[in-house]
């Protein structure tokens, strides 16, 4: 579905991504982890079109994404949420979803909007002002909802669980799993909570200093000495403790 080959991003003299290569299959869920500044959000920015890569190949379902602007990528089926929710100004929750659906999916389907509202537990907030009348969990749900309304086949979720309490996080995770199963989506999730990643994603990619240093099951990846070193600066957990 999505293939990256040798993708590099330079910001002036800083190499934010160094030859990143991986692919995402239809319906696959991947956790993307790494220390702060590893290049995770830059990778999302490259896939969604916010940042142009300095070098490399980027294909989505056989189409090269390199020359496509963000909005065309959205219409191709790449949905994205942001780490810091910022709904469309003074629109209701439903209007936010309708705008995303109208422009991202090119249609108006109120039934699907109701379904998204239900699955994300936002139905009773549908007519509230999204800027001023939502709690943090609801803002996060709306971020996912907007991306879902564009009818994506690949969903990129950037720290969508960050800042939530443990109980809210668990409920949110269940909703994400329900979303994935309902719409048969491929998902790439940036998340710092390893337990969450392990529960949601059978495959994990680890980025460090702009390089993919591990790719595999959560069990294998989180035992990898290089991954442990990237987080702790030490070779093993025993050394780290």
């Amino acid at each position: 579905m999505l293939t990256l080959e040798g993708v590099q991003v330079n910001f002036g003299g800083v190499q934010a991504l160094k030859s990143a290569s991986f692919s995402v299959a239809e319906g696959e869920s991947i956790g993307l982890v790494g220390p702060n500044g590893a290049g995770k959000t830059t990778l999302f920015n490259v896939i969604s079109g916010v940042v142009r890569p300095t070098a490399g190949r980027l294909d989505f379902r056989g189409t090269s994404l390199l020359k496509l602007p963000e909005w065309k990528r959205a219409r191709l089926g790449i949905g994205r949420s942001f780490q810091i929710p910022r709904p469309f100004g003074h629109c209701t929750v439903r209007e936010n979803l309708l705008v995303a659906q109208r422009f991202g999916a090119g249609k108006k389907d109120p039934k699907r909007i109701d379904e998204i509202l239900d699955i994300l537990n936002l139905r009773d907030k549908a007519d509230r002002d999204a800027t001023t009348e939502l709690a943090l969990t609801e803002h996060k749900a709306l971020e996912v909802g907007k991306a879902l309304a564009t009818e994506p086949s690949l969903l990129l979720l950037d720290e969508v669980l960050a800042g939530l309490e443990t109980s809210s996080k668990r409920a949110f995770m269940e909703r994400l799993a329900a979303v994935r199963d309902r719409y048969r989506l491929a998902m790439v999730i940036i998340e710092h909570d390893i337990a969450t990643i392990a529960a949601l994603c059978p495959r994990v990619l680890v980025l460090n200093f702009g390089q993919i240093i591990a790719d595999g099951s959560p069990d294998a990846v989180f035992r990898d000495p290089e991954v442990i070193r990237s987080y702790t600066g030490e070779t093993t957990l025993a050394e780290a403790s």
Partner: protein, 292 residues
């Protein structure tokens, strides 16, 4: 005394209508592109001079020249947009320099074609007065401009709140990155906003030519006034722009009536500074929200 005050308030209200029609175009472009078009007043002026040329050179009623003016002002706006869209770095600052320069070019083009004289319509209907509620006087042109301006602004407000393109403008205005990632084509929406601003500028130009006087340096004055009103309202609120414009119009009118015409601009500036001091994001600002 009461009659004089009421007349001053009424004249201020009508003047506010002119100002609001100019300012809404500026606010719309700012909301969509985060660009302050410092050539907006000159676009209004261009429309006014098309009306003048139609009346003096071809002897037609200025209103009949509105379609021609729409094409001319729309084309000039499209050129401004095309140049603005080529700015990829530090757009907010560089666009100020570009549009300021374009405004100077337009002013000088008008000056070289029509000279520096002051003009106003010679059509008697526009200059005839009407009496409202037995005591309030206004020129036909002023009332027509106020009513027409209100209808246009209501149309823009409706468009922003109820059409898909309008919702896309609000989405871009509040979160450009998210809007484009939800499939909104920013270029298309920006062009549309520029064209609607051109429509408002054309109407404002005709309103000013028929109800006031025009001269080449007026464009700059209009831009500054529109900018003050837009900031006073809180960058981007259309009802806020209307209320801000009426406030400016009323305070100027009261100053002219009770103090001196030479203090008119100063009074508006003082109101502007006081509002910014009390509420730095303007009267209705804070949400970067267009329309509501």
């Amino acid at each position: 005394m009461l009659e004089l005050t009421l007349q001053a308030l009424f004249s201020g209200l009508l003047a506010g209508g002119y100002y609001a029609t100019v300012a809404v175009g500026l606010a719309l472009v700012f909301g969509t592109m985060r660009v302050i078009n410092l050539a907006h007043g000159e676009l209004v002026l261009l429309a006014a001079y098309v009306a003048y040329a139609a009346e003096t050179n071809y002897g037609v009623n200025p209103v009949m020249a509105i379609p021609v003016a729409l094409v001319i002002v729309g084309t000039a706006s499209a050129i401004v947009y095309a140049l603005l869209s080529r700015i990829h770095q530090d757009r907010e600052i560089n666009s100020l320099i570009l549009t300021f320069g374009l405004g100077i070019i337009l002013t000088n083009a008008i000056l070289s074609i029509w000279a520096a004289d002051i003009h106003s319509t010679s059509d008697p209907w526009f200059q005839d007065s009407m009496v409202i509620a037995d005591t309030l006087f206004a020129m036909n042109a002023e009332v027509a401009a106020f009513v027409g301006g209100l209808v246009l602004m209501a149309g823009v407000w409706w468009w922003l709140n109820h059409s898909w393109q309008g919702r896309a403008v609000r989405a871009l205005s509040s979160n450009r990155a998210a809007a484009t990632l939800m499939g909104v084509n920013p270029r298309k929406i920006e062009i549309l906003s520029f064209l609607i601003a051109a429509l408002l500028a054309t109407f404002a130009g005709f309103a000013i030519y028929t109800g006031k006087t025009v001269f080449p340096a007026l464009g700059h004055v209009l831009t500054v006034k529109a900018f003050i009103i837009t900031v006073l309202a809180g960058m981007g609120s259309i009802p806020g722009v209307l209320i801000g414009a009426i406030m400016i119009g009323v305070i100027e009118s009261l100053t002219v009536t009770y103090l001196s015409a030479s203090l008119q601009e100063l009074a508006g500036m003082i109101l502007f500074l006081v509002v910014l001091f009390v509420s730095p994001s303007g009267l209705f600002g804070g949400g970067r929200a267009l329309a509501r």
